[in-house]
Symmetry: C2
Subunit: 458 residues, 2 copies
Amino acid sequence: MFDPIEKLKQYISLQSVSTDSSFKEGMNQTRDFVSDVFNQMGLNVEIVDTPLHPIVVAKREGEPSWPHVIIYGHYDVQPVDPIELWDSNPFEAVIKDGRIYGRGAADNKGPQMAHIAAVAELLEAYPELPLRLTFVIEGEEEIGSPNLLPFLKERKEELAEADLVLLSDTLSPSAEQVAITVGLRGIVALEVELTGPNSDLHSGLHGGAVYNPAQALCELCASLHDKDNRVNVPGFYDDVASVEDWEREELKRLGIEEVAYKKSLGINSFHTHPGYSPFEAVRYLPTLEFNGLGSGYQGEGSKTIVPSKAFAKITCRLVANQDPVKIGNLVKQTILDRIPDGITAEIEAGHEGIPYLVVPPHRENSPANYPSRLEQAFDAADSAIAEEFGKAPLFLREGGSIPIIADIKSELGLDSLMIGLFLPEDKIHAPNESMDLSMLTRGIKASKKILANLAGIG
Amino acid sequence: MFDPIEKLKQYISLQSVSTDSSFKEGMNQTRDFVSDVFNQMGLNVEIVDTPLHPIVVAKREGEPSWPHVIIYGHYDVQPVDPIELWDSNPFEAVIKDGRIYGRGAADNKGPQMAHIAAVAELLEAYPELPLRLTFVIEGEEEIGSPNLLPFLKERKEELAEADLVLLSDTLSPSAEQVAITVGLRGIVALEVELTGPNSDLHSGLHGGAVYNPAQALCELCASLHDKDNRVNVPGFYDDVASVEDWEREELKRLGIEEVAYKKSLGINSFHTHPGYSPFEAVRYLPTLEFNGLGSGYQGEGSKTIVPSKAFAKITCRLVANQDPVKIGNLVKQTILDRIPDGITAEIEAGHEGIPYLVVPPHRENSPANYPSRLEQAFDAADSAIAEEFGKAPLFLREGGSIPIIADIKSELGLDSLMIGLFLPEDKIHAPNESMDLSMLTRGIKASKKILANLAGIG
């Protein structure tokens, strides 16, 4: 009998911090653990080397006519700092009041375990299950999955013939309301550095004669939004995918009040486009965000200089249909067009990620030739979640970015069924991370029903 | 015979870095040296204790009817870092190609020595010279003269009955063209900190819903100037003293070309109010300058956050007739009026300094009842400098601030005759500081003529 909670406790105890090379041993142990679990389930395990942390691939082969599901997860976790804020050892799973605590409990060891356990239980019950499975469990998600796209390209032939990807690495609004994420924002990053005089100047001797680059930066950055917080870059919204009525209706069932959201952020007012609630704005609209600013003297007291330089770190979150390369170039050109005399600019391009959107079946805007097994999976998830969690799932876009989901779509042509099994209170990436065990147990049941349905035995 | 160059070499060799407590011994030795010099000249020396570095006061008493000149200087110097950029030991005077090198050579030991030597030589030649003198040589100029104003207040009775203050701690444009500084800008500092959400937020999950304080800061700061670089704060220019035609004419003789100034700053364009040259702008107009900006992530690469906070360090340079307290309040109130919903602001007031302006005699805007001994001193300086340097001095306002000059005016009612004896190439506050020895020798002669004239023997 597969014991998911016992397995998860072992999984959490393994120290798989991918960003820190001192955790090399922990990464190896974790990979061995994952391999063993899949071996015990009778899958064919392969460790695929990458320049850094290998990918664990575990397969259940079968007839070409059987449905083929790729199940994605990651065995690496975030660092545990600040360690002094943890109430227990982050690498020792502790169960308390129906929650399991430890680094990675919710991101992503627990949610991933729902699908592993579902497969293990299904295969115990139905050794002849007519379903092909490929687990892809990577070890570099927390450092940006630098080697996953190369892996997808290399294995394109065998992976692209799958029907869909199933994963749980997204958020649900509450334990009563599961969300299926159908959209993720893309991203494009750039950094602008302005230079005025060739060195910091005495603000008495030269102030009033020269363009202060900190002032020029503020004027430039201020020009990038209008008073309604729309991005003031010509063409920025040209390709933005429209929002359907069903999406807005679905989102109204989110169950979070604006007042509570404001309170949690400590603000007295939102700042959204007219006609968009804050919940809509983060999902349906692109942004241009200043992630950092710097110029001149930042220490205690004052230093009377005209700084030589000023910089802004900018990222744009993009919605479906927007191209990060195109938007990056638009923003860059707009900035260059607005540099005043007396100031020079350098713009450095950063990382990019494509936005993602899958329209669920049976919506007014669903594609005409909906892939039948994807449709079957969405339908099965809809009813399985309704049965196990007591409420039908919400099909929602999210504001965050998981670039690999868009990469899987663009490289393999596959859509993803993303079932949210962690919750806002789970403290992912923070001290005292935990997972609601009822999300795990119900998640296992739902996953089993979805997979069984696809295999034609549900 | 007083040997000014020998004395200056000794003076430079003494390590009087006021800001660094490890130079306590050097400060003591320097103070003793200055006292000894004045004692040897037959003056009555008093060491006036302060909470940090004492002030050396040296007096030549005399008949109440004799003119009384206060000569100001400072015996402390800037730190020598970065020491590796010095071509010689900063505390060992080296004479080369007509210049004397070492920390403090130009700021202020050399220029100050011109007046000490002038007095020494005059007193040797005319032991009965009918002139009262009070040297005030402080040890805290490089740390903002925190104890000079309290000293002025305490000694107000004896100091206020002087006729004027004579000093050389300002710049002349070249060795051929001495400037007499007649105006200094004041200053008022403040720091604005904006807060949006109560912590840094994930820019995917929340971006688009909340006001980014870095964006709000840019919008706020951008609102503080119009496109002609005028400060956009209602009332900011209300009290600005007018500029007289003679001032603009005088300034045209500065002898520095705009092209050369631009080149030295590495910029392709100035950014001044229409109708003001860059040389006029820094002297006749107040500014609002961003000395530093900071927000969010400033390290390598990118971090996809909506920052919680953003700050700007601001100083305004003020011109004659502007009140730092009034302007500080105007700017503060304007900023508070412009804080949008969703953002809160905290403003911290910094230091303040009053602007200073003395109109030389015989100008269209000179006061009607010009103090006769001040008039005599200005006239004597005019002709003495013309004789010794070959060209009449320019009477110019400067863009920098020396708050003690305005303090002396407001506390004692005395104006200052500021004769520029250091030059742009002297590298004050920087490695390889030096002074042109011809500025010293000619400065001694000019100072002697001015003092002798005041004493009625010129």
